[in-house]
């Protein structure tokens, strides 16, 4: 009995974690996430490691890092890799995204983010346009969602001022791989700071 109860609880728990976001709720869901993130960001007393930890728990539930890693590498390249390499790459890529984000935190002052528009590109794609307001300037950030196989909407790319994050990585990785081996790409990902002078 105890055993079954445990399984039941575990099931319940996983269900909760992979809670599917219905399409109509994306704006409100994202707005509450953004608000939550903003309150964390504005909290001057909270130490930075704790801040990032809290922020990343929010992000982890809506960003599909695995898919992002795959897309940044390109399908062909990804398929040619052995699965341990894929896992290693995904881990490093996720780290890279997170360090890049953490570095941005130092620049944060009192920017506000407001949701402007939700556009359904096709059945499985949604673009959520937000505006980041800094002083009197407005910066457009688009979160790109796709519907995964559990029917929940996950972010696979972020577009900042028209620049797709995944695309920038994609071009860089392609460039590295035309000259170098995949292992050297992994090496470069391991030392995220300072682009290595060639």
């Amino acid at each position: 009995m105890n055993f079954f109860a445990r399984i039941f609880l575990a099931l319940l728990f996983t269900c909760n974690v992979s809670f599917a976001i219905p399409e109509a709720d994306i704006p409100s869901f994202m707005q509450s996430n953004i608000d939550l993130a903003t309150t964390i960001l504005r909290d001057k007393k909270m130490p930075k490691p704790q801040k990032t930890e809290k922020l990343f728990t929010i992000f982890d539930s809506i960003f599909d890092y695995t898919l992002m890693a795959q897309l940044s590498l390109g399908g062909k390249q990804w398929a040619s890799l052995a699965s341990p390499k894929q896992t290693e790459f995904t881990k490093l890529f996720e780290m890279k995204l997170k360090t890049s984000y953490m570095e941005k935190l130092d620049l944060y002052t009192d920017e506000k983010i407001v949701i402007k528009n939700l556009e359904k590109i096709k059945d499985t794609r949604i673009h959520l346009t937000t505006h980041l307001m800094k002083n009197s300037e407005v910066y457009e950030i688009i979160y790109k969602f796709y519907k995964d196989k559990n029917g929940s909407w996950m972010i696979y790319d972020v577009d900042i001022l028209g620049v797709s994050i995944i695309q920038t990585y994609r071009t860089q990785f392609a460039d590295i791989l035309t000259k170098d081996s995949f292992d050297s790409l992994l090496e470069k990902l391991k030392q995220p700071d300072e682009p290595t002078p060639k």
């Binding site: 898919l67 399908g75 499985t124 620049v163 695309q167 071009t171």
Partner: protein, 249 residues
């Protein structure tokens, strides 16, 4: 019997597709989303030169521009630097006006003119951006490169210019054209100067503008550069995507 078999078969298919799903996403449609400007079909005949020039420019920034800008920032309070920046932006009004007009953006042209009048007078020669601060009229940045893009001129291949940084064939043509609209080009020195022979003063003014502008964005730029794994393809991609976005607006 057949029914059961069919059921079984479909189940295996289901689990098979499920299995594939766990290792690689079915992302053909994703591939098309990103492949359009992937490096495989990117025309970059100058890549060798561009890479070298990117490094030269980066060194110039690291060892000359940034230290200068930081030293300048140390002696000039931030408010004054914002003022100087506003002054120059106000000066570039002809570039924005003409290009807004060329793109038939009449309302924007009107707003630009309002800004110029307000900022030049109440804003004391443009040092204060009264129009944006008090009335919320914002600048509409347009340049000839964008105008050309607006009329369907393609980017052309990517070219990294010395000092100017990333550009492409279309935008170089644009830059050359905009020079004729840039008041700094017409600055007169002690001797009678003409457009092609006043390089000294104009260059000094441009240098001052650049140092001032850099001093306001050092932190952002350094942070942005940290995201790069390979500087040249990173900057190229950011530049080209950004320009495409600006043209579409």
């Amino acid at each position: 019997m057949r029914f059961i078999l069919a059921c079984l078969l479909s189940l295996t298919f289901l689990s098979a597709s499920d299995y594939i799903g766990t290792t690689t996403h079915n992302n053909d449609d994703f591939e098309t989303e990103f492949n359009t400007n992937n490096s495989e079909n990117l025309f970059d005949p100058l890549s060798g030169y561009n890479e070298v020039m990117t490094r030269v420019n980066d060194n110039f920034y690291e060892y000359l521009l940034r230290p200068t800008a930081q030293g300048y920032a140390y002696v000039m309070p931030e408010m004054a630097r914002h003022g100087v920046s506003n002054f120059f932006e106000n000066l570039f009004y002809p570039i924005r006006l003409v290009n807004n007009l060329l793109q038939l953006k009449f309302y924007n042209s009107l707003e630009e003119t309002e800004r110029f009048v307000l900022n030049s007078t109440m804003g004391i020669l443009g040092f204060r951006d009264v129009a944006a601060e008090e009335l919320g009229i914002k600048a509409h940045d347009e340049d000839l490169g964008q105008t050309l893009g607006y009329y369907g001129v393609g980017n052309g291949f990517h070219v990294v210019l010395p000092l100017f940084g990333p550009s492409n064939v279309r935008d170089i043509a644009g830059l050359a054209g905009d020079m004729w609209l840039n008041p700094i080009t017409y600055m007169k020195g002690r001797h009678d100067a003409n457009l092609l022979d006043n390089s000294g003063q104009a260059m000094a003014a441009t240098a001052f503008y650049t140092i001032n502008k850099t001093s306001l964005h050092v932190k952002e730029y350094d942070n942005f550069k940290k995201d790069a794994i390979e500087l040249y393809p990173f900057l190229r991609d950011v530049y080209e995507s950004r320009r495409t976005k600006l043209i579409s607006e």
